[in-house]
Amino acid sequence: MTNKQRLYLLEQMLRIRSFEERVGELFLKGESAGTMLHLSIGEEAAAVGVGAMMQDGDSFTTHHRGHGVFLARGADPKRMMAEIAGKEIGYCRGKGGSMHIADMSLGHLGANAIVGGGISHIVGAALSYKTLKKDNVSVAFFGDGAMQQGILYESFNLAALWNLPAMFVCINNQYGMGTRVDQSSSTLDFAARAKSFGLQADTADGQDIEDVVNKAKKLLKQARAGRASFLTINCYRFYGHARKDKSPYRSEQEETAGRQQDPISFWEENLVKAKIISNKKLETLKKEIDLEMDAALSFAENAKKPELATMFEDVYSPKQAKPLSNKARLDL
């Protein structure tokens, strides 16, 4: 890895952290469009480590905690924040919000609010690439909770059986809402499960982005060659499940210890120690990023709310009739 690449990884992780801190603000001000906001603070190395190794034209789906992955794949923070605030200029005209954000031009086939809901879609995308002879990979990002969903295993099987350019990435933040992973999973060796389906599989340390990058790079290459792969990345969910959750089901000591596994401070220290960046430059970089994200926040706050008539748009293709409103049907 070059020093430039190392700095890029740091910058991307900092951008996600800064963005999500502002998503939190949006919520506290009562300006987010929903209460369903799931922050990935502490999980940035997973998003950036895999995201940075993907190529243009590759596609992906994410779970409900997917802000980080989307930013790592090039999302515009302004339009993202606007979507989370339910504004027309947002990625999905304010109809998707945080949990259903998508952007076809960046290959984002959609975040999903159903645990495991988007995983099989990347199998279909990978089938398209194989059928249409495109050199792309499709990647599913999901949490440890989805490791217990049946459709994941149907998808593992299909991807391996059909030799598809598909990669599955489990971001294991140790919890599914209030249930710790050892309370929900018969085994903690997720890679072993994947291997038993014939997938190339590995486990990465989510505090160490270099480890994530190295493993993701290898497994993406395998997937691109038609050997579907799986990577599970261990990390810790720093805050509650959603914005209002104060995590009463885990101890303060545990949280303090968990937050020590911060992939950002770990990487900062490494880069400073190796003199790849000075403390001063680091401060400047953080300030720049915070300014960018402040701008995204005010962009979202000031953006126009959607017109009510847009409610009936996008149910079907524009070639088809829109659904009939109560108003039109009853002439109210």
Partner: protein, 331 residues
């Protein structure tokens, strides 16, 4: 293939469906078929027979028994350049895949603000008639009709089987295409040129005294009843809805406004079923013309039993329809 060679010939419903798939696959390389037993086996009801041999394993994909992932895979493929036809062997298995159908396929265009649609056809079959039991005989169309974002087609005739499937394959949104297991061997003259477009109900029989509104497998029973009623000098109109979304309200409201009497005949179970929706719409649109209350004859509110005599009695047949019509008209 040259489809015009089949014009005017008597063929089966199954053959008509196969012709539509075959012709569409020739015309559009993006169309693939995936599902359980669709390839080497030729389809559980032999609809896709011969297509694996003709188009190869790259376009006719035999899948494992993974209904949720079959449909999820079709969704992802549809979003990235293919036009998949996913086959769900029995509509009764939809429960296993319902998240992919109702939360994913149906809502992707909307949730993503219209960026992309899911151009896939979910072919499946339903209905009673083969003593297949409670888990292989249901009429679950109300589930799909109830979900915004899904088009629903239920052809009853040979020409419609072809015509509606051909059109469905050109849609940019998911189409749930429900065939009837009791109709696969039914025959008719293949004249797709005369078939109406997707979303239009057909007047299967013109009449003046009462309107029967029906679709799919129940149509043949309604037409048979209408024939008998004709002998009693009772003149009924029979409307075949053909698609449940779009629901062609205008056509049946117009008919009911003309006849002043309506009977709705469906094979799905009565309670909260398709007939309830049609009845409500007919009442909204034709209230001023109604001479009698709208009546519904639907499947009994029971699981479909295996014993042939019980199964027969579980959904409306000719004799029931005749009785209901005479009751409404008091003749």
């Amino acid at each position: 293939m040259n489809i015009t060679e089949y014009y005017g010939q008597t063929i089966t419903y199954r053959e008509a469906l196969r012709l539509a798939l075959d012709e569409a696959m020739e015309q559009d390389e993006r169309i693939i078929i995936l599902g359980e037993e669709v390839g080497r086996y030729g389809g559980a009801y032999a609809v896709s027979q011969g297509l694996y041999e003709k188009y190869g394993a790259g376009r006719v994909l035999d899948t494992p028994i993974s209904e949720a992932a079959i449909i999820g895979t079709a969704i992802g493929a549809a979003m990235t350049g293919l036009r998949p036809v996913a086959e769900l062997m029995y509509v009764d298995f939809a429960g296993i895949a319902m998240d992919q159908i109702a939360n994913q396929a149906a809502k992707i265009r909307y949730m993503f603000g219209g960026q992309i649609g899911v151009p896939m056809v979910l072919r499946t079959q339903g209905g009673p008639g083969r003593s297949a039991g409670a888990q292989h005989s249901q009429s679950l169309e109300a589930w799909f009709m109830h979900t915004a974002g899904l088009f629903v087609a239920m052809p009853a005739t040979v020409s419609d089987a072809y015509q509606l499937l051909k059109e469905a394959l050109q849609f940019d949104d998911p189409v749930i295409f429900i065939e009837h297991k009791g109709l696969y061997t039914s025959k008719g003259i293949f004249e797709p040129g005369t078939a109406l477009p997707f979303g239009k109900a057909a007047i299967a029989r013109e009449g003046s005294e009462l309107t029967i509104i029906t679709y799919s497998g129940a149509l043949r029973h309604c037409l048979a009843a209408a024939e008998e009623l004709d002998k009693l000098a009772i003149d009924v109109e029979v409307i075949d809805l053909r698609t449940l979304n779009p629901l062609d309200v205008d056509t049946f409201v117009e008919s009911v406004s003309k006849t002043g009497h309506a009977l709705i005949v469906t094979e799905d179970s009565l309670t909260a079923g398709v007939s309830a929706e049609i009845s409500a719409r007919a009442q909204e649109g034709a209230f001023d013309f109604l001479e009698e209350p709208i009546m519904r004859l639907s499947g009994e509110d029971i699981p479909i039993p295996v014993a042939p005599e019980l199964e027969l009695a579980a959904t409306p047949k000719k004799a029931d329809i005749i009785k209901a019509v005479r009751k409404i008209l008091r003749r």
